[in-house]
């Protein structure tokens, strides 16, 4: 940690230890599955074992008669309620709207992927439910249909359909920006050099360590429902359950997301099990709980990535970029998860200019239904895919033209004098300094000393390489007017209520949700800094729709950049009201009242009131301007960002390849990031570590493999390779290059996704570099995960 950060002990920029850690470290966290309720019952889901099939009969009698069984639900029970909707409507380049098949609570008519839920048993005990679920599975007739697994084949198949009403299995065929297509084609036609790469962005399974879980309650006396669930954004879940799926009035449904054990995107979405436990709780009049086994998580959590891309780079012989063009197939799986349609489009195509001054870009994405689990946003969501395509093709171009990978990037970077800069793919970058992060990472990595390290590796029979990735993303999601134009069905503002209690301590209800990010510490830190009160007097409340005003949750590196700003705006309202109260109490003009270090003072005098005195006066308004001002001290603010934020950085990976086994070892990983202002450097570092860890997982280890019949071959930790402690190095992280965001008052950009975005191409570039330096110059590319057998096969292929 840089020294100027280490020195701070309090307020913005201090590496404050996390207050939430105490409960997590002592086993007193309360995750959904930890909650026990009187009279609770257990739901067990019956899932399809075939990838594609027509449900002929579900004979429930035997299961229903089993000991402890209280109720059985099938798709019939939900056929007349709504489906779980897509959150974003995308238009095809021919102007047609996307196809949005219904996603029912339980499959009805057809099952469409292995793990598709088609029935549920509610029982007194979990074991009874499981036994009955097995009976029900045995008593179900499903006529197996041909599985549609390969996405390119699916798009060319007019006979086999995932959804009977969608003839070509295509959700949409999107072009961005369609009006620029002809110009881009013209550039390619006359370009001095074109580099082409065919890339797979491997499908990942998010694997938050806490499996999904939900508890439904119904209170017949009032008609209220309560859903406790593993969610990154309880308000969105409430909205979807209420307005789209079950039709419960929004004000009769409370959604609580208590401690949540990681999300990484997979817990943004509403899942059918949440509607099921609510409906079941109402039918039974008892709480209904469901907790996924890990094997269910593998089959039914929204997966991530899964793109097949052809990218072309047109350039001058000196490496000056002229244009990028991509054609991508994106797999959405069997149904549209809530943000499945925007992830491969606006979260991907709009980043396809990178940090570069490339004048022409055209992106085509064909999004395809297959008989696999739904695919949606996973840490980075679209932006890792864009970055991987760009940074791989740039490296390949340098190799083809014999150019230096550092200098080519430097030559093509936007320069600090060019901001604000409108990219050819529709974003307006507000600020940045990509040269600075590149310089920084070169210094951190001791690039000058690489050759001697390479020689040392070579002496051991190992190949060492260096891989660069310079990345940018758009986060702080998102300006509502813009996303509305682009097809979003929601706004993406956030909200906070600051409640100053009569005794002067403060409760802040925030719409962001913390599932590992440390909001309870950082939000308090920011608020304390602004209010000049101790952090310990501030409590951050999140994850409960009955307590917080509204919120769109946490994902897209948005918590501080959107909700944090809403909180500061609410604080500003508190301070403004406090000044009015102070002016009255101090018999001064409001214009003369200053607020600093927790004190309201009359400028130029020693007359002052503490924050606590003002709070007390607001609630005991004996000496108070009641004729012009309401008592109480509580303010709410909503904040809708004016633009995305644009963190960027440069990553360098140094990797060693064992040519005998193909095993890749990450010897060093360096990150120079620009996150704008940093609120808590300790937490920022932790976010980067985690993101890079996941990126290394994608690059080297994690493969989601379906066989041709649609069985998931990597359905447990026995076959899905999660990064372990021995797979990764210590990461060298720096964030001292700071160009603060220009359009939010905190100057923050967001750091949650950075590591997962920037790291995969750095790893793969390092492996390819090592292989080339080792003389294996025939190897152009190895698909992720760059597993030992793939590397070995490439060397010997």
């Amino acid at each position: 940690m840089p020294k100027d950060f280490e020195a701070k002990t309090t307020g913005i920029g201090a590496p404050m230890k996390r207050r939430e850690d105490i409960r997590f470290l002592t086993g007193r966290g309360v995750y959904t599955d930890d909650i026990k309720l009187a009279g609770q019952t257990y739901a067990v889901i019956v899932r399809s074992q075939v990838a594609h099939g027509r449900i002929k009969a579900i004979r429930t009698e035997a299961a229903a008669a089993m000991e402890g069984v209280l109720a059985i639900f099938t798709g019939e029970d939900f056929k007349d309620v709504g489906g779980n909707p897509a959150g974003w409507l995308i238009k095809s380049r021919n102007g047609e709207p996307m196809r949005e098949p219904k996603r029912p609570v339980l499959a009805h008519g057809k099952v469409r992927h292995v793990g598709d839920a088609y029935a549920a048993v509610i029982a007194e005990t979990y074991e009874q439910g499981r036994a009955a679920a097995q009976q029900l599975a045995d008593d179900t007739d499903i006529e197996e249909l041909p599985a549609i697994i390969d996405m390119k084949a699916a798009a060319a198949d007019a006979t086999n359909r995932v959804h009977d009403e969608i003839p070509d299995n295509l959700c949409y065929d999107w072009g961005w920006i369609e009006d620029n297509r002809a110009a881009v084609e013209e550039v390619f036609a006359r370009a001095p050099h074109v580099t082409t790469l065919e890339l797979v962005n491997n499908r990942l399974i998010p694997n938050a360590m806490e499996p999904r879980a939900s508890i439904g309650e119904y209170f017949p006396g009032t008609g209220d429902y309560k859903l406790t669930t593993t969610s990154q954004n309880p308000h969105l879940t409430r909205l979807l359950v209420a307005a789209f799926v079950l039709g419960i009035p929004e004000n009769k449904l409370t959604v609580v997301a208590p401690d949540v054990g990681g999300g990484f995107g997979s817990k943004i979405y509403h899942y059918g099990e949440e509607a099921l436990v609510l409906a079941a709780a109402k039918r039974l009049g008892r709480p209904v709980r469901w907790t996924a086994e890990r094997s269910e998580s593998f089959l039914s959590d929204a997966h991530g990535r899964d793109h097949v891309t052809k990218i072309e780079l047109a350039c001058e012989k000196d490496g000056t970029f002229l244009a990028f063009r991509t054609e991508t197939f994106a797999n959405v799986g069997a149904y549209l998860s809530n943000f499945a349609t925007v992830t491969p489009t606006f979260l991907h195509g709009t980043l396809m200019a990178g940090p570069y001054k490339v004048p022409h870009v055209y992106v085509n994405v064909k999004t395809v239904f297959t008989n696999t689990a739904p695919v949606d946003a996973y840490r980075g969501a679209g932006r890792p895919e864009a970055t991987f395509s760009l940074e791989r093709v740039v490296d390949q171009m340098c190799r083809e033209l014999g150019l230096d990978a550092f200098e080519v990037r430097r030559k093509n970077f936007l320069t600090p004098d060019m901001f604000p800069y409108t990219t050819p793919v529709g974003l307006v970058y507000d600020t940045g300094n990509y040269q600075a992060t590149l310089d920084k990472v070169i210094e951190m990595a001791d690039v000058a000393g690489f050759e001697s390290r390479r020689a040392a590796s070579a002496a051991k029979g190992l190949l060492r390489g260096l891989g660069l990735s310079t990345w940018i993303e758009a986060c702080g999601i998102a300006p509502s007017h813009l996303v509305g134009i682009l097809g979003a069905r929601v706004g993406l503002y956030d909200a906070a209520t600051v409640r100053v209690n009569a005794t002067g301590n403060i409760s802040i209800m925030v719409g962001a949700h913390s599932h590992g990010q440390g909001h309870e510490t950082v939000f308090a830190q920011v608020a304390a800094d602004r209010l000049g009160v101790p952090e310990s007097s501030i409590e951050i409340v999140h994850g409960d729709t009955s307590k917080i005003p509204f919120g769109m949750g946490s994902y897209g590196s948005r918590s501080l950049a959107v909700c944090g700003v809403a909180m500061t705006k609410a604080i500003d309202k508190i301070i403004a009201k406090g000044k009015k109260i102070a002016a009255h109490m101090l018999e001064a003009s409001e214009a003369d009242i200053t607020f600093e270090a927790g004190k309201f003072a009359v400028a130029g005098t020693d007359k002052a009131k503490t924050f606590g005195e003002i709070a007390f006066s607001a609630y005991v308004p004996h000496n108070y301007p009641l004729e012009t001002l309401e008592p109480g001290l509580e303010e709410t603010a909503f904040y809708d960002p004016a633009n995305f934020t644009y963190p960027a950085g440069a990553y360098l990976c140094e990797a060693e390849v064992d040519p005998e086994t193909g095993k890749v070892t990450i010897e060093a990983f360096h990150c120079a990031d620009d996150f704008g202002n940093v609120m808590n450097p300790m937490i920022v570092e932790g976010q980067v570590h985690g993101g890079v860890g996941q990126g290394i997982g994608q690059a080297l280890l994690e493969s989601t493999t379906y066989d041709e019949t649609g069985q998931l071959l990597t359905g447990s930790y026995m076959d899905y390779a999660m990064p372990r402690a021995s797979d990764v190095p210590f990461y060298n992280v720096d964030y001292s290059c700071q160009t603060p965001c220009t359009h939010n008052p905190l100057g923050v950009k967001g750091c949650g996704e950075a590591g997962a975005i920037g790291s995969p191409p750095a790893v793969v570039n390092a492996v390819i570099d090592a292989l080339h330096r080792g003389g294996h110059t025939h190897i152009k590319h190895i698909d992720m995960p760059v597993s030992p057998q793939r590397v070995w096969a490439a060397i010997n292929g």
């Binding site: 071959l713 930790y717 076959d719 390779a721 597993s787 030992p788 057998q789 070995w792 096969a793």
Partner: protein, 259 residues
């Protein structure tokens, strides 16, 4: 998981009696069996825990032989002195929690094709001792998940003649961390035995070409260039037969270097 009666006898005789009841199955450390039961791949009516039998526990060395009680957990073998090659193998099985519970007897009775112990037993020509007889390693392993054990037969100990040089080299499957290919090399005077686990559809096997080469010259270079036939080797997500064939030679060389 289906329910069962749980018994924990204190002697081999009681365990044998308990295993005579219908649907009974022995439970050692449970690090494989319990997982199978969770998936309903195994559903015993009676589970007979062997870990309470003191006579089945412990490691001793005498007359150039290491004897290991069948219910001795891997962690104990990892700590034992006298046979560093075997201790190193035991210290690399699974993870610390697996090593605290999992036992050599359980591993050998299950004979997972990717388990580590079978390679050491076969390479050393160890003796598998049961409540009924002694079984030579060459006769014990009969293919993936198949052994010479009969119904009601319990492994009580394994006796390893301690080699003059030995080592185990494992290339891990990236997800499960079982051996994708693991090789145990044991040298007894002029005689060298090489046993390979993780690679073959028939379970652990001896690589005789490697043995011949090492008997001629006990040096990693002796096996490095040797070609291994991919016929009969496992094809799965993590390695093709050709890849595993390569690993057989590479891991053998590394085991020799480490021995």
């Amino acid at each position: 998981m289906q329910n069962f009666d749980f018994v924990k006898p204190a002697s081999v005789a009681e365990a044998v009696a308990a295993l005579g009841t219908s649907g009974a199955q022995a439970l050692s450390g449970g690090q494989t069996l319990i997982g199978s039961m969770k998936q309903n791949l195994a559903a015993p009516a009676v589970l007979v825990s062997l870990t309470g039998i003191a006579a089945l526990k412990g490691v001793s060395v005498s007359g150039g032989v290491m004897s290991i009680g069948a219910a001795t957990p891997h962690a104990e073998v990892a700590k034992a002195s006298g046979f560093p090659g075997l201790s190193s193998l035991a210290g690399g099985i699974g993870d610390p929690a697996v090593r605290a519970r999992g036992t050599i007897g359980g591993s050998l009775a299950n004979n997972d094709p990717a388990a580590c112990y079978p390679s050491a037993v076969l390479a050393c020509g160890a003796t598998v001792v049961t409540n009924r007889r002694e079984i030579a390693a060459d006769d014990y392993f009969q293919g993936m998940f198949t052994t010479a054990l009969e119904d009601g037969e319990i492994i009580t100990a394994v006796r390893f003649p301690i080699p003059e040089r030995a080592a185990y080299a494992k290339f891990e499957q990236p997800a499960s961390r079982f051996s994708l290919t693991g090789v145990f090399v044991a040298k007894y005077g002029a005689k060298v035995r090489v046993a390979v686990t993780g690679a073959s559809n028939d379970g652990v096997f001896r690589w005789t070409d490697g043995e011949d080469a090492l008997q001629a010259s006990y040096d990693p270079a002796a096996v490095k260039g040797l070609k291994v036939s991919p016929d009969g080797l496992i094809a799965d997500l993590h390695g093709t037969p050709a890849y595993r064939a390569n690993l057989v030679a590479v891991m053998t060389a590394r085991a020799v270097a480490a021995s």
